[in-house]
Every structure is written in C-alpha cells, then in structure tokens.
Amino acid sequence: MTAHASPIGPGPTGPGPTAPPPAPPAVSPLRLVATLGISGALAGLLLVSVHRVTEPVIAAHKQRVLEDAVLEVLAGPTSYRTLYLVDGAFTPDLPAGADPRTLDTVYAGLGDDGARLDGFAIPASKPGFQDKVSLLFGWEPKDGTVRAIRVLESRETPGLGDRIEKDPAFAAGFVGRTTPLVGVKAGRGTGAPSEVDMITGATISSRTVIDAIDTTLARLRPALDAYAAEAAR
C-alpha cells in the first residue's frame, strides 16, 4: 500500500500536521551515510541474531513436513535418501556449486536394512484451475504402480477442486494404479488397472493431478529405471 492516503478516504490521515519536522540546517552527507550505515548495521545485527535463533526451528519444521510427506507416499520405508538428477542420472551427491532448487529431485525409499531401494517419492506440479498444484507421489519402479499420493499445495475451488487435497477417497483412488494413469468419470471405469476415478464436478483439478504424475514420470522414467536397475544389482 502506498503511504499516500487514497483520495477516496474520508479525509487526511491522522491528527498531526503533515509538515515534516523542522530539518536541522545543513547536515553533512557524511552524517547521512553514517546514520544509514549504522542503522543498517544494527538492523543486520538484529536480524542475524533472530535468524540464528529461529533458523534451526524453521529448518527442522520444514524437514519434518517433507519427511512426513515422503514417508507417507512411500507407504512402507521409514527412511529415504534424496537424489538429484545430474546429467541424466540420479545421484545422491549434490555437485559442487549447484543450486539444489534448480535440479530435479526425487526421494528414494530405503528398505529395512537402510540400503535396499524401496520405491521413489517424486514431486510433481502442474497448473490447475486457479494456480499451480504441487504434489508428491510414491512410485514403485518394479511394476510402475503408484504407491500413494499427497497434494502439498493447491488453491483449487473450496468444496470442489480442493477435494484433490482434502478428500482422502480421491487420494486412495491412486493407490496401486498402473502408470501412465487414465482419469475416468467416477463409476464409469472399465476396471482397467490404470484408471483413476475423477471427482465429479472437478474434472480439471482431478486431471491436473493425474497429468502432473504422468508427465513427470514420462520425463524422469528412464533415469528412475536406470537407478532402480543399478540398485537391484
């Protein structure tokens, strides 16, 4: 919002006069810079301190949220490993100087022994009805089936499209389905293993989720398969 009172308001703001306080005559530029510099430094100091206090809490929370989601869609494993797509292959090691946000990232579930590959948790996103829908889905590389899905962020229509996030029945419809998925109208499916029931009245939102999974897999599948084959050996 601007500091300029909007003309539609009922009148000038505040009780005080609008004239600035009497400026001290001729302040040296040095003092101006110094004032700003010092206040900047103080502000920085304050921020750094607060950051140091809050950062671990925030990071831990983020980590927990991610972990929850990853483990939920992996449906089984209790630990996982983060993989980055570098030069067409997944590797757990982040190359020096690379920004992890710009790389495709998946999470490989680890079996009881802490080493065996047990499914992938894969993030996917696609523009939906209102805005981008982000989700995480668990995927079984052996037969290409979906283990579970969880919509992480969406701004779909409340009561309609947001059921992709809020309606457990919708998410349950993905479990065990073979990719690539095909959306069908609820109750109209033929029973094929790739069919997923869409939400009545929220076809666009439902299809967004399905398409996000399909396109992400289409892009990453070679690398995922290669990694799975490597791990199986």
């Binding site: 919002m1 601007t2 500091a3 300029h4 909007s6 003309p7 539609i8 308001g9 502000a43 920085g44 921020l47 750094v48 607060v50 950051h51 920004d99 946000r101 710009t102 696609k126 523009p127 939906g128 009805f129 209102q130 805005d131 981008k132 229509t157 666009i204 299809r207 967004t208």
Partner: protein, 192 residues
C-alpha cells in the same frame, strides 16, 4: 514456452494481481478516476515491474542465497533506489515521458505490487525468463484492472449513485464484481 505463457496469463487474468491477489490496490481504488491516468499509471507499473523482476532475480541468484533473512530489506532498498534511478534517467533522457509518467513513479515505490512481485517470484523459485513473464503479466493485469476501473468510474460519476454507497463502498462492490467476472478465466491453459 507454454510454461512462460501460463505464467504470464496467470498473473494477468487468472490470478490477476489486483483482483485476485489484492496487490496495487491503492492506485486501483484511488488514482484511477480517469482512463488516461490509469493507462499511464499502468505503463509506469509495467516498466518498474520488469526492472524489479530483473533485480530480484539477480539478488536471489547472487546475494540472497547466502543471507535469506535480508530478503525483505534488500528488496525494499533495491526497489526504492530503482525507482529513484528510473525517475532520474527518464527525466534526463525523455522529458516528455517524464511529464507523462513522472508523477506516478514515486507512488510506485510504496505500491505493494512491486514488492509483491519480487517476493512471489522468489517464493515460487522463478528463473530469469519466468520472472520476466511474471512481471509482464502482472503489469498487464494491473493495467487492465486500472483501466477497467477507471472507465467504470467515469460512468458511475454520471450515475445517480446513492449517497450511502458513493465512494469506496461502490468501488469495492465493483471490484468484487470484476473479481467475480475474472473467475471466468480460471483454469486457462490447464485443461488442454
């Protein structure tokens, strides 16, 4: 390419900066009494938004990776200086343009659309071109909303608006209706 187009259209109509994200409301509710003014204000905004997007991208890529907590401060400082520099540059190189846009530039500094753009762009992790598409879309969206509101207000000025609703009340109801109408764009380019 379709990604960039979606970002642009999304910021422009689907999630219009003003009508859906409530950014840039001050000029929308206040300054937009005349269509010409609204148009110039919108153009000035597009200009500054694009520059801001560039700066925010540069800051995010080269500076804020190391000190994310300085984000708000550095954005606001950069935007303020940016507007100052633009104002000076325009004044020097195109006095005509300055006469037309000049008075709007200071208003833009504290327009939350500019800071909003920088922050949204950062939160969504947009790259350089995505950011530019976002900025252009947002600016066009702002301009569209401003011009629509201005032309509607020119008409309602000539209507027998009851005293009770005259002013902010009516403007907000109109904005609400515009916002309802823009819901028609929901899902644009997503169903295909």
């Amino acid at each position: 390419m379709s990604d960039l187009l979606w970002i642009l259209l999304s910021a422009m109509v689907v999630n219009n900066f003003t009508l859906s994200l409530f950014l840039g409301l001050c000029p929308f509710l206040g300054v937009s009494g005349r269509v010409e003014t609204a148009l110039r204000m919108g153009l000035a905004n597009i200009f500054v938004l694009v520059l801001t997007s560039l700066c925010a991208w540069a800051l995010n890529t080269f500076v804020l990776v190391y000190a994310p907590f300085l984000r708000v401060i550095s954005f606001i400082v950069v935007i303020a200086s940016l507007v100052q520099i633009v104002e000076m540059a325009v004044k020097k190189f195109s006095p005509t343009l300055f006469r037309q846009l000049g008075i709007y530039l200071p208003l833009i500094t504290t327009n939350c659309a500019i800071l909003g753009l920088a922050i949204f762009q950062t939160n969504r992790g947009y790259g350089l071109f995505q950011g530019l598409a976002f900025a252009v879309g947002a600016g066009l969206g702002l301009t569209l909303a401003l011009v629509l509101m201005a032309s509607i207000r020119e008409t309602t000025e000539l209507s027998d608006v009851p005293d009770v609703t005259r002013g902010a009340g009516l403007v907000l109801i109109v904005a609400g209706t515009l916002s309802l109408a823009f819901m028609g764009f929901a899902g644009l380019l997503s169903g295909a």
